[in-house]
Symmetry: C2
Subunit: 502 residues, 2 copies
């Protein structure tokens, strides 16, 4: 019995990863932990992938339905996709191998709002959940599970699965205990009650996950780091974007449309998001809060510096140095961070009530304010919508950020018509590039187009966008949202044909 | 002092409509009552339109910003659009004259989620609200306003406007008093609290609207019917669509995914919606409820027959004969109907909590489950998104209905790629045409395409859709959502060129 498994009955179930993986059958649906590279099981997926490879070598079909919180890591998504061991993947992925398989048409992927997953699984939409494979950071004396660096859908997996495999990862900080808030009050309609959160700090649940011992078919001990990348300092483009966002927030406060301490921040993951968080460090704002999916380095820093009072999320996504700082000062962070199940961290009800300021990255935006977050050239999946829809639709202000160009200037991220829509014109308030910021609130489509072209597009692409917009206003089928349908996707066609939109 | 104005101070403010309209200045923003042709002011808008026409004859510019609940009627939208008296129109319209002006590029229109309007106006996004023009059905002894046949945004207009004009319409039933539930508990973040509704019947507010007398600049007495069209019995196509929807609901109950009394129904307006409601009359379901925007004839009938126990909405939209029945049996309807402000009838928090079954009509759907609710051929606005986004995104099951063809068979409503997106692939559960029903829940894009083609498309268009889908899978840029960008909008292009997609 290791120090992390403080209950004898649970300790008695410890086996090797290979044995545990052997308990998962072909065709089964498997719900695994993991959100943004944090808290995913480290060993069972790899052992399962080996089993799949062996089965395939013997000509035996073997695939599983793979459900997670969100993205995981090469040891999970990558390993299972590599051996073609996944039948249907949901609700989000960002793995290069998975992505390639999906785009080759060899792996079915259903890309859904992260807040929808739990209710859909309860509803039985994806079939039965056969096995849960959940990483925890420990097991208490009375047999409750101490969650790991992400909560994700773990509560749902443990409740819904017929059989449960638990990985206890002693690499995870012991200081995580007490930081989680697992709410057991959700239900299917007509039995739903208000989610009683009115501030990001509110704790409405319990710090542990419950799982009946009789469902547990294996416990595996691991000691492996999360997929923690090194922190990249913001580049010039990201800093310019962040600067525009910060100017906008200051103007909103000055206009009386936002309180001085802002409203709870939701921030997507990535360079630009980190740059905005870094900018907040030096800006005029104090008493900040976050109600978001993921706590990145930038947010940890805001807490350390005292700028941010409270951050609610469902997962960490920290660099190795930030993890070190977290472990060193865990006590100081304990009352400033709450990790919740993703059905709560992303819940439309709470996002709307708190009035989140949602900031998310995109693939491309069009003249009229439609956003593509997921597809390259209309067909090729990048990652998925993740939580951006949960937040953008219900946010107080929904902000979308992107450099104005991609692929070394061959791609304009501002196009006549997006090749796929993830956030409609009705849900997009503000678009920001390094060129500037377009506040689209309250504008008609044509008014939006002018702002998007002049404030957001790269100067190289502005003349062509203006030309398209002007000609559209002369000969479109209607002048509410003027488009020339034989040209609207021509920039993408040109890219597919020549490798450049230019 | 007429019988409808039971307070002397309010009665002392009665003037003619022309005088009241004279109190509205050029360039002002005017918030008018009205939702789906119910409860809009009947006389001041026409008088205002006459003023605008005279001003324009004298070469004086005169336009107002026109904000409403949703659609109104020829006497309001039509009259003001006809004289080009509208600057910016929001949040929804369905008037032929307005629509023509918008599509000619002569009228700016911003088409927004109906649940977003109140918070946006409070936020100040559209500028100051100068004048409210609100129809009521009476004024109480103590000077409170008895709402009319719609509530819409009236609470917000009365709170936010600097000056208020009230129309008291004695045509409206006196029995409306007591039927409304005006919730004064909403706020801007960070001051929001849970909306305490857990059942469509819950009353959480007060039956009257408040308005400080000192803001009231005019009271106008009218006696005019709402825009109540005659009820058209369902046609064969609508009945077939309704049949598929009812079969689906029965299967969901049988599978244990819906309770026997279903969940609160939200139903868009129109023939197909009415056919579904008519179908429920003879189906196996009892104890039904509705949490919706509008109470149409079909819903009134369900209440009369005892099938429906409770309907919550923000407006009526009844035929003249249904209005008669309503007035005759008003007492019987009083405890079965609640009319709420649209910020509550469409509130994402409540829609999600109650688990609404959302049924909305569309313009077109594509292979991958994206929905266009608003635009013809990508550019020409039809009406607007209305509340369909408020409900579809947060619903328990979001169902979209349409005949498989339009324009006498020249248009397929199932197309390779929609020309505008109002509901993304992530928000669309079920698509229904007279051909059949495609349950898209849990499917990958390519799996969805197969169902949409085989279950929903008209047989005349199926071969071309299959051909597009097959060729896309051979040569698209990615095989997650295979598209051929040079063909994806070609059906719309053909229609614009030749008047037919065939």
């Amino acid at each position: 019995m290791s120090g992390r498994i403080r209950n004898r009955q649970w300790a008695a179930k410890v086996v090797e990863a290979e044995e545990a993986a052997g308990l998962i059958g072909p065709g089964e649906n498997v719900g695994m932990s993991g959100f943004t590279g944090a808290g995913y099981p480290k060993e069972v997926p790899g052992a399962l992938a080996k089993r799949v490879a062996v089965a395939h070598e013997h000509g035996e079909p073997m695939k599983v339905g793979l459900w997670t919180g969100a993205s995981t890591a090469p040891e999970l998504d990558g390993a299972l996709a590599e051996v073609e061991g996944i039948d249907l993947r949901l609700p989000y992925q960002s793995d290069p191998v998975s992505r390639a398989k999906i785009n080759e048409g060899r792996l079915d992927y259903t890309d859904i709002h992260l807040s929808h997953v739990a209710q859909r699984v309860w509803q039985g939409i994806y079939g039965d959940l056969d096995v849960a494979v959940v990483e925890v950071s420990g097991i208490t004396e009375d047999g409750r599970l101490i969650p790991s660096s992400s909560v994700g859908n773990n509560k749902t997996w443990l409740e819904q699965a017929d059989r449960v495999i638990v990985e206890v990862n002693s690499w995870q900080s012991e200081h995580l205990e007490g930081m989680h808030d697992v709410y057991y009050g959700t239900a299917l309609p007509p039995h739903r009650r208000p989610i009683p959160i009115t501030h990001p700090a509110d704790r409405i649940g319990v710090p542990h996950l419950d799982c009946p011992l009789e469902k547990v078919i294996a416990v595996v001990e691991t000691e492996s780091p999360d997929r923690n990348g090194a922190f990249t300092p913001p580049d010039a483009i990201s800093e310019q974007i962040a600067g525009h966002v910060l100017d906008f927030l200051e103007l909103e406060v000055a206009a009386g449309r936002l309180p001085r301490e802002l409203l709870p921040i939701q921030s997507g993951v990535g360079n630009v998001a980190n740059a905005v968080l870094a900018g907040l460090e030096n800006g005029p704002f104090h008493g900040l809060t976050a109600y978001t999916e993921v706590i990145q380095d930038g947010m940890l820093q805001l807490i350390e510096s005292g700028r941010m009072e409270m951050a609610s999320a469902t997962a960490f996504s920290l660099s190795p140095t930030a993890v070190e700082r977290f472990n060193r000062d865990a006590a100081a962070f304990r009352d400033k961070i709450v990790l919740r199940p993703q059905e709560i961290s992303n819940h439309p009800e709470v996002v709307r009530r708190l009035g989140c300021l949602a900031m998310n990255g995109i693939v491309e935006a069009d003249l009229y304010g439609n956003i593509n977050s997921t597809h390259l050239m209309g067909s090729r999946i990048q990652n998925g919508i993740g939580g951006s829809g949960d937040f953008a639709r219900n946010a107080y202000v929904s902000i979308f950020v992107t450099p104005s160009q991609a692929k070394g200037g061959d791609v304009s991220t501002i196009v006549p018509m997006v090749s796929h829509v993830d956030h409609t014109e009705h849900d997009v308030d503000v678009i920001v590039t390094e060129q500037g910021l377009a506040d689209l609130r309250g504008l008609s489509p044509k008014q939006r187009a002018e702002r998007v072209i002049e404030h957001c597009a790269h100067p190289d692409f502005r003349p062509a966008l203006r030309d398209y917009f002007e000609r559209s206003q002369r000969s479109a089928f209607g002048l509410h949202t003027p488009h020339l349908l034989d040209e609207s996707l021509s920039w993408h066609q040109r890219y597919v044909r020549t490798g450049s939109m230019r």
